[in-house]
Symmetry: C2
Subunit: 305 residues, 2 copies
């Protein structure tokens, strides 16, 4: 049973900024704050201060965290709740969830930022009512989360969809920006890759520029591969790069073409605009998903069906 | 409750042959028969005859089918249990599971051949005790099945892992044999692709031949992509091509290399031989998985945990 007036805390922890929020049992946002990600001590300290000062007399019922990574989300692991081998300086091997659990003394739910965003979109956004779908964010990095039959993907660790290997676009000589793999998906199509291709902010590029054609190539190939492995009912595409809305119809057409006549589901053949969609919650998907993680940690239900 | 002496029927339906078996509640094979896949009427007729004649006085408790595809495995769909848009002549839009349910009057469980094989490996084989893993078969076609948190992947339809798009191996000019997509994973690395590359049976190629190097390239890229999307605890590689056991150590080394230092789980870094493995049930994974589907259809439990 959930308390009637349960109050949940949520943290969407990104490499650039933290979003902290307090929400109710329906995941409505009651309070929300953003601040930059600096050192772990300072940043986690600010989050603790926010929840202590704003959660009222009864305090939080539970806390949920959706974090940049890689993280260890495996319950029972000695490093559960840690950010592990991240390239983000100072954050390697940080006991993130444990620090908050000790400071606030509440149950803590913990997952990747993208699994949290997928949860948020499933609870209140563009994947409401679906049981199997993926959420992909194309921004500073590329990450993916997914629910399969209502269950978040964990397994060995968590998805790392940004590090898939994709065929090169014809004639594309760009070497890629991923420090680990060079020309993986993230290396070829993240925000920094786009900026490096454009030699600056890409906003002024005309919509028919070859750079966009290449971006459509990689994004479509990645979506085809996700569709082939996960068979999602829908794929949500978020993140800063996807603010370029002209990419959506082009990606839909190309995914249709690449799947040819093989996956003959009406969703792909006749309604690609319902198969590949922007987030329903915009930039709040992650923090609402974090609230859903908190609700789950308190014993409430998060998942679809 | 399961009957004490439940008797399950299982069909592994391949494009070349059918394997039918009768098993007990522990999924031990009591009877087993194989025959070639000809027309639907003749082939399904032989299966019905086998189960009618061999299931004894009490008949079957339930039947499970793992089928070549594409199929419709969605419960409640008007075409549930159908083989749909298969290239296999005469089998398009065949009401496979429905025909058997009407003839035998028992509950029928139905899924893809590879989801069934994944189930079999999870119940008794190389994935026993794991909750999130993939089973990939590299044979006449390339197909994949998976369990995520103990749940088989369905979603929009079912996985089609053979149709992922992968980067080309350097200098590889082979155009691919997939009738739908040319140079998708199946087009480049299935049994027929291997045979076309070799200009005949590949068995006599020396282990250091460039063709094997190319095969290792595509298989490893596919495994990396599956790892990035699904985060499986293990990937099982079966099918005729993988009888070439010399491929296993090379694929393991290359997957380690491609994941670089990014996915730092001990399973991949220190024990790749436990991450990428051959099937534990050999060629019986599919039919044992079909028996597990039958047990599930009868109300018994199939999934891990």
């Amino acid at each position: 049973m959930l308390a009637r007036y349960a109050q949940y805390g949520g943290i969407e922890a990104g490499g650039t900024k933290f979003v902290c929020a307090i929400g109710d049992a329906s995941l409505s946002l009651l309070e929300r704050i953003e601040f930059p990600t600096t050192t772990p001590a300072e940043t986690i300290g600010r989050a603790i201060e926010f929840f202590r000062s704003r959660a009222g007399n009864d305090g939080l019922t539970a806390l949920g965290i959706g974090s940049f990574g890689p993280v260890d989300p495996r319950p029972g692991s000695p490093t559960w709740g840690y950010i592990t081998t991240t390239p983000k300086e100072g954050w390697q091997h940080t006991d993130f969830a444990g620090s908050l659990r000790r400071a606030l003394d509440v149950p803590v739910g913990f997952d990747t930022d993208t699994n949290a965003a997928a949860l948020g979109e499933g609870a209140l956004g563009a994947a409401k009512g679906l049981h199997t779908f993926a959420y992909l964010t194309i921004g500073t990095g590329i990450g993916g989360g997914a629910l399969v039959g209502g269950v978040r993907i964990h397994g060995l660790l968590h998805p790392e969809m940004g590090h898939m290997r994709l065929p090169r676009a014809e004639g594309d000589k760009f070497e890629g920006v991923c420090p680990f793999h060079g020309d993986c998906f993230e290396g070829m199509a993240s925000g920094p890759a786009l900026r490096a291709r454009a030699g600056g902010p890409p906003d002024r590029l005309p919509a028919d520029h070859q750079i966009w054609t290449n971006m459509v190539h990689y994004l479509s190939a990645a979506l085809v591969n996700i569709a082939c492995v996960l068979s999602p009912q829908r794929i949500i595409l978020g993140g800063g790069v996807m603010h370029q809305r002209h990419l959506f119809p082009r990606i839909r057409r190309r995914v249709q073409h690449l799947l040819a006549d093989y996956l003959q589901s009406p969703e792909i053949v006749n309604h690609p605009e319902t198969f590949i969609v922007p987030p329903g919650l915009g930039d709040d998907a992650g923090v609402i998903g974090a609230l859903a993680l908190a609700r789950h940690a308190a014993g409430g239900d998060i998942d679809q069906e």
